[in-house]
Chain length 131, copies 2
DNA sequence: ATGCACCCTGAAGTCGCTATAGGGTCAAGA
DNA sequence: TCTTGACCCTATAGCGACTTCAGGGTGCAT
């Protein structure tokens, strides 16, 4: 399987696959006579795992750790849980931040009567000295 | 006022202030005999505006636009509203994504009995071929 | 004169890709 | 046989918004 086929199957850009290889996330595959990368099913599985992890918000470093952990089938999954829980905690922080942000922005937007800058509540909210 | 003082007043790192200057967001201040940057109150106001905007999730490009708009006190604030509304829309997209992410992660975490990798629901969820 | 906190510049590093330049490979069609 | 076109290769630079680093200079107190 060539890189373009793998890209289509995993909905990953070709450049991203090469990037993962350079980053050591995906093992370097065999090469054809014409120096094309030739992938096996194992690569497809590994790349799918990586993409799925990324979709769930794990960083590449976390993916690296998850891959390492997943390879030891008899190991404890406590560390996996820890990584996933850390991810949830991180998401919760972002959610809280974004909600507060949104509330503040909407408040100013609602206040703003949309006339001139001089009376714009948004600019006013951003300015250090209240008019 | 030296750069460190300005940094403290605005809770901004010194390097970030210099970065804003290089990016044209903050005008270059006068210099002391020893080549230290000497800031005026106007700089403090402008930097506060920038930081507040960044805190509200605006990109540096948006901040640039807001600063330009804010300078024309008699102009219309419709454009300001547009930028803020775009920001809210962006935040809403991020919120939706994060909520979905969180739900999926938590679901797998709840399922996981925390024994070995071989039975770990999280690893399983990430793996392409269900065990 | 020495130490220390602060300041300077310029360049490189961060994350996770994406894009660009400049080429090579390979199968099908004229 | 030649050419077209889709695909592949490497190496390098770019993105946003900073942060870090290397290698110095300044200014004040002891």
């Amino acid at each position: 399987m060539k890189i373009g086929d793998l890209a289509k199957l995993t909905e990953t850009r070709v450049e991203t696959i090469r990037y993962y290889e350079a980053e050591g996330l995906l093992p370097a595959p065999a090469r054809s006579r014409g120096n094309y990368r030739l992938y096996e099913t194992a690569h497809l599985h590994r790349l799918s795992f990586i993409r799925r992890s990324r979709d769930l918000g794990f960083t590449l470093d976390q993916v690296r750790a998850l891959l390492r952990l997943a390879d030891d089938r008899s190991g404890s999954c406590a560390e996996v849980d820890r990584i996933a829980a850390a991810n949830v905690a991180e998401i919760d922080r972002k959610l809280a931040d974004l909600k507060a942000l949104r509330a503040e922005l909407v408040r100013h937007l609602d206040d703003c009567c949309a006339t001139t800058i001089d009376h714009c509540r948004i600019i006013e909210a951003l300015s250090p000295q209240p008019k």
